[in-house]
Amino acid sequence: MKIAAFLPELLRHLFKKPATVDYPFKKLEVPKDFRGTPFLHPELCIVCRACERDCPAEAIEITQVSEAEKKFRLVIHNDRCVHCAQCLDSCPTTPVKAMDMDHLYEIADFDRHNLKMDWVYIRALPKKEPKPAPAAPQKQPPQPA
C-alpha cells in the first residue's frame, strides 16, 4: 500500500500532449480495410441477388423495372445497413466485385430518406469483359476516399 501511487503518472502527463483528438476539427485516419458504406458498380452487376439474400439487415432490395430491357433497380438502405460487408463476400462477380465499400464514416443524417441510394441499370452478362455502364445511375455513388 502506497499513498498517492498515481502521482508521478499524473504529473508526467500534465505537460504531455493529450491523447484525445479535437474530433470534428481533426480526424483520425481509418485503416485501409475499414468497412464503410456499400455501393454498387452497376456495370458489373449480374443480378444474382446473392447480396439481397445474405444481407442480415435486409438493407439491399433488388427489383425488376422492365423485363424487356433487362432493367433492374437496386436500393441500398444505408439507414438499415450494419456495415458487415457480407454483400462484398457474397458477390460472385470476378475479378472485380460489383459491390464495393468506401471509407466514409460520417454518414449520419437528419432524414433517413437521404441515406437511401439507388441505381437503375441493365444487367451485365456474366463472365465477359465489363462494358461501360449503359444507364447512368440515378444518384452518383460516392467514390472511395
Binding site: 439507414d79 433517413r112 430518406h113 437521404n114
Partner: protein
C-alpha cells in the same frame, strides 16, 4: 473423469431411470430421461459425478411435444439431459431444490413456452413485459409475428 467414465457411472447407478445415453461427439453426452425421473436423475448425477453447474435449459417445440434440454457443464465437457413433455399437458418439476441457480432459466421457459414448472419458488414473468397478453408464448412455433410495415418519418413521402 472422461466421457466413458460418466456414461459408465450413469448406467450403473441410475440405469433404471435413464432411457437412453448418446455420445455424439467428444465431451458431449446426451441422456434421455422421462419427465417424472428428471429431478431424481439430476440429484443422482450431482451426487455421483459432482454435476453442480447448470448452463441453461433449452426448450424446443416439436409439434405435439416440447423437448427440454438441461445443459450441464462439468470439469471435462458437457452433459445434456433431454426430456419430452406433451404439449397438451406441459408440466415439469422444478430443479431448484437440487440446483438453486436454475430458477432464472425455468422462469424464462415459463415465459417463452408456457411450460408450467411445478414448485418453482418464484413464478413471476422474467423477460416478458408486464402487460403481455396471456396464452401468448413467443417461442412456440405456432406463435408468429407479423412485422408491421416500417414507416420512415420525414423525406418526400
Amino acid at each position: 473423469m472422461t466421457d466413458l467414465d460418466i456414461i459408465e457411472k450413469t448406467r450403473n447407478r441410475l440405469g433404471d431411470k435413464v432411457a437412453e445415453i448418446a455420445h455424439p461427439a467428444p465431451r458431449r453426452i446426451f441422456i434421455t430421461v422421462e419427465p417424472h425421473n428428471l429431478v431424481a436423475v439430476v440429484a443422482g448425477l450431482k451426487k455421483e459425478i459432482g454435476l453442480w453447474y447448470l448452463a441453461t435449459i433449452s426448450g424446443v417445440d416439436l409439434g405435439d411435444h416440447f423437448e427440454l434440454l438441461y445443459h450441464f457443464g462439468h470439469d471435462n465437457g458437457n452433459l445434456t439431459i433431454r426430456t419430452r413433455i406433451p404439449r397438451a399437458q406441459p408440466q415439469v418439476e422444478s430443479l431448484s431444490p437440487v440446483i438453486p441457480g436454475s430458477i432464472l432459466y425455468e422462469r424464462e421457459l415459463q415465459d417463452m413456452f408456457g411450460i408450467i414448472i411445478n414448485h418453482i419458488p418464484d413464478a413471476r414473468p422474467l423477460v416478458l413485459p408486464d402487460g403481455w397478453p396471456a396464452e401468448n408464448f413467443p417461442l412456440r412455433k405456432d406463435w408468429t409475428h407479423e412485422r408491421t410495415p416500417e414507416i420512415i418519418p420525414g423525406g418526400k413521402k
